[in-house]
């Protein structure tokens, strides 16, 4: 059983992780992950192992876009299993072309001691998390 309450899982996903992503705040984003966390993009079968690889992926993502927005969240929270699965919309604007892309994605987050141990990402379009 998790020592963290229901709202902890909503807050880490929305107020820390995605808030950090949307504000290009790498430290805030990385503070959500365990050192040996794994982030896997399922629709393109891309895996990022450990803190450094995940940080590198976010550096690339932030470098390629002028705007990133996550919203319209619906969460499925399981405190017993220390897991939260979230559905949401994403809008990103390419720095190079100015093109706006919209996705309807979901993430599955599995936590340990209040930080992400495993994250699985499904994207409705081309993988941005390269």
């Amino acid at each position: 059983m998790s020592k963290f309450p229901y709202e902890y899982y909503i807050d880490i996903v929305t107020k820390r992780y995605f808030h950090g992503v949307d504000h290009f705040d790498t430290d805030m984003v990385m503070d959500c992950f365990h050192e040996n966390a794994v982030l896997r993009e399922m629709t393109s079968d891309t895996t990022h192992n450990g803190y450094d690889e995940i940080r590198g992926m976010f550096t690339d993502l932030f470098g390629a876009h002028s705007r990133i927005w996550h919203g319209n969240f619906v969460h499925t929270v399981d405190t017993q299993e220390q897991a939260i699965c979230s559905q949401f919309s994403v809008e990103v604007t390419s720095k190079e072309t100015g093109e706006l892309l919209r996705y309807e994605n979901c993430n599955r987050f599995y936590l340990e001691d209040g930080q992400y141990k495993q994250v699985f990402v499904y994207m409705s379009g081309e993988n941005l998390l390269k």
């Binding site: 229901y6 399922m42 629709t43 079968d45 619906v74 969460h75 499925t76 929270v77 399981d78 017993q80 299993e81 897991a83 939260i84 699965c85 559905q87 309807e104 994605n105 979901c106 599955r108 699985f120 499904y122 994207m123 409705s124």
Partner: protein
Amino acid sequence: MQYQSSLNRAGLIELAIDKYFANVDRKYLDGVLDCFHDNAMLTVQTAFTIHEGKENIKRMFVDFMNSYEFIIHRDFTCTVDAANGRIAASFVAELTDEKGAKTFLSNTNFWRIRNDRFQEVYVYMSGANPLT
């Protein structure tokens, strides 16, 4: 949309895994459709495909079941939010066609339950959509 569910944790898992997926794998169409409200909606989000209402969902499952000799869903990891009538599950779908060719998908489903049945179902797939 927020719905009122009458199912507890065990009831949500039973509906999604023991009833819904077990009946899909058995190709027992009536058992599958019994999990849905008449006005339910099934969305394959990764392909932007929407099936609205039980009749359209039925047509989709008839085509799906006819397309494969064997359908197996396994290796479930469930995330259950009983307070909000929601359950998500990751799983492997192993589909075998009549020539014996196999397709493996690592998918995630989200179910929103009203009373004791599915009102909304969202499917996120790791590969091409077979639920057309």
